[in-house]
């Protein structure tokens, strides 16, 4: 699968541009702040119906404009696919596949598998547990469309229960059934979500460890543990046990919305111990593992977006990554960089001439056509 052509209109700092891509390697070169990342983000948007950076859509519209539009022409299983995303301020965004509008975005997510690696991934290590849950959820929902529905329904039931907890605070003689109806939904959905997360992480772990070893050269041991209250006890029992506490605190203290991942380097949390290079390697290995996971499930090579990936890594690790992505294991790749040094490295490794270079300067893009 690959994207053949991307058209952007008023997306972030870009006015209007249409780019034709190589099915193998594409590189956006330019100084910091010219908007290279925004081009990757546009490609990301077409796969996930939202920006990688979780901005509200009004912030993705170019300055002084009131809409943006993105269009991608893809080849998927030897068939053409045309995806169109349009957003106008104050209106609901529209996503169309081959001119037919989706009723639910969840129907689209997963069609065009994609993995993005970005400096913003650092929040996975530095940020709160919601970042790590979002990581799990975004990967799982790429191959399991029903998972997203479960999650949406779970969160809605949770919200209803929390509001109910506030409403009945201080009241005695509560009809237990008014909680039972939400607990039932939470348990039903929460247990299914817990199972999915468990099996996902079990499969991800060895691949992640393999990639970390490959990139780091081998002396460090990393792991990734799924921490969930549901690992120990049945959800229905947890809810019963914490009911008095929930009533006092006026929110639901137990459930899969409290799940987390323990990211470890050796025996310690990487957040406490990891160097900048180790953190970055950890995240890249995690994303490569995600790539393999999605690839094996869909039998399609996801599009790989590498945003400023080589920064802050020593030359040994850079070299290993260059070797890795040059391999035929990966499909279409997009790279942003400030210069073409790493790109040339990849081209030397891969030995092909199927590549395109785009020079990005303050909202304009010049296609550099060259053959070697």
């Amino acid at each position: 699968m690959f994207i053949r052509e991307l058209s952007v209109m008023n997306y972030k700092n870009f006015g209007e541009a249409t780019l034709t891509f190589s099915r193998k390697l594409n590189c956006f070169i330019g100084n910091n702040g010219v908007g290279k990342t925004n081009l990757l983000d546009a490609i990301y948007y077409l796969s996930f119906c939202k920006s990688y950076f979780n901005n509200p859509d009004s912030q993705n519209v170019r300055h002084e404009q009131d809409f943006f539009a993105l269009q991608g022409k893809y080849e998927l299983n030897y068939k053409n696919e045309e995806i169109h995303c349009g957003f106008k301020n104050g209106q609901k965004k529209k996503i169309r596949r081959n001119k037919k509008e989706y009723e639910r975005f969840s129907e689209h997510i997963g069609l065009l598998p994609l993995v993005m690696i970005s400096p913003a991934d650092a929040v996975l290590i530095q940020g709160g547990s919601e970042e790590r849950r979002r990581f799990m959820d975004s990967v799982i929902s790429q191959y399991d469309r029903i998972y997203l529905e479960w999650l949406v329904r779970y969160n809605r039931a949770l919200l209803q229960r929390n509001i109910l907890l506030k409403e009945v605070s201080g009241r005695n003689n509560i009809d237990p059934d008014i909680f039972a109806i939400w607990d039932d939904q939470l348990v039903h959905l929460g247990e299914k979500i817990h199972l999915k997360r468990t099996s996902f992480l079990k499969e991800l772990l060895p691949v992640f460890q393999k990639y970390y070893t490959l990139i780091s050269g081998g002396n460090e041991f990393v792991s990734l543990e799924y921490s969930s209250q549901l690992n120990e006890k049945e959800f229905s029992i947890l809810l019963k046990e914490s009911f008095q506490k929930d009533r006092m605190l006026q929110f639901t203290t137990t459930g899969i919305h409290k799940d987390d991942l323990d990211l470890k380097l050796g025996d310690y949390s990487i957040r406490r111990l990891g160097s900048q290079g180790q953190n970055k390697t950890y995240l890249i290995a995690l994303k490569f593992a995600q790539f393999d996971f999605i690839r094996s499930l869909n039998n399609v090579k996801p599009i790989l977006l590498l945003d400023d990936i080589f920064d802050k890594l020593d030359s040994g690790r850079v070299e290993e990554i260059v070797k890795l992505v040059s391999d035929d294991h990966f499909g279409q790749i997009f790279i942003t960089d400030t210069n073409r040094e790493h790109l040339d490295g990849i081209l030397r490794e891969a030995g092909g001439d199927d590549f395109r270079i785009f020079v990005v300067e303050g909202g304009t893009i010049n296609d550099v056509i060259e053959k070697r």
Partner: protein
């Protein structure tokens, strides 16, 4: 013309009232009011009277809480309908939808909403007590849940089920599945998944 500057206070009042209706903006309100102004006096009087009488005289059926002109609505007072079969719906619109199918010969019970703490609606805000009473009186064989399939609809179903299940009655819910005329390719997976789990005996479809 600036819509905020009305040449007449009467016009402005009428426009303001129309604009309170759901889905009606100021511009549409003005268009409707100007249209009324052009009509015959009789016609406009009939219009006004219909609205005033609607609010003053409409009643809710004492049995099913459907809208009615009398104490008991014409469905509940119809002896040819099956009074042992009660279909629970959220609102009056749903009664009208099911009536339009001409497939249902039982009676109804209008809840007046569904349980949703975030909208401030709990069981006591709905016609649930009266439903339990109707069932306890003993002449009802089957209750059909016909609420929307949202999270809140499901939770309300479950609440009703908990309250009704100790009565000796059949409790059923609307079939959930692929719609008539749907192509499977375009059916969402949740619906398709449910349809395969709750598949039907073919002989029941053709009969």
């Amino acid at each position: 013309m600036n819509i905020e500057q009305f040449p007449s206070k009467l016009l402005e009042n009428a426009v303001t009232e129309f604009a309170r209706l759901p889905g009606i903006g100021k511009k549409t309100a003005l268009r409707l009011v100007l249209h009324l102004l052009k009509r015959d006096q009789d016609e406009v009087h009939r219009f006004g009277e219909a609205i005033t009488r609607l609010k003053d005289e409409v009643m809710h059926c004492l049995l099913c809480h459907n809208i009615s002109d009398t104490d008991t609505c014409n469905i509940c007072s119809n002896s040819s309908r099956d009074h042992g079969l009660v279909c629970v719906v959220e609102n009056i619109r749903d009664v009208m939808s099911i009536e339009n199918t001409q497939q249902y010969k039982g009676v109804y019970h209008v809840l007046g909403g569904i349980i949703s703490p975030m909208d401030g609606i709990g069981p006591s805000d709905l016609e649930i007590e009266s439903l339990l009473k109707r069932v306890e009186e003993g002449s009802i064989r089957e209750v059909i849940f016909a609420l929307s399939t949202t999270m809140e609809g499901d939770s309300t179903n479950f609440y009703l089920y908990k309250k009704l299940s100790n009565n000796n009655i059949r409790i059923t819910t609307l079939a959930r599945g692929v719609s008539v005329g749907d192509e499977l390719e375009f059916t969402d997976e949740l619906t398709l998944g449910r349809s395969i789990v709750n598949r039907l005996l073919y002989e029941n479809i053709i009969s």
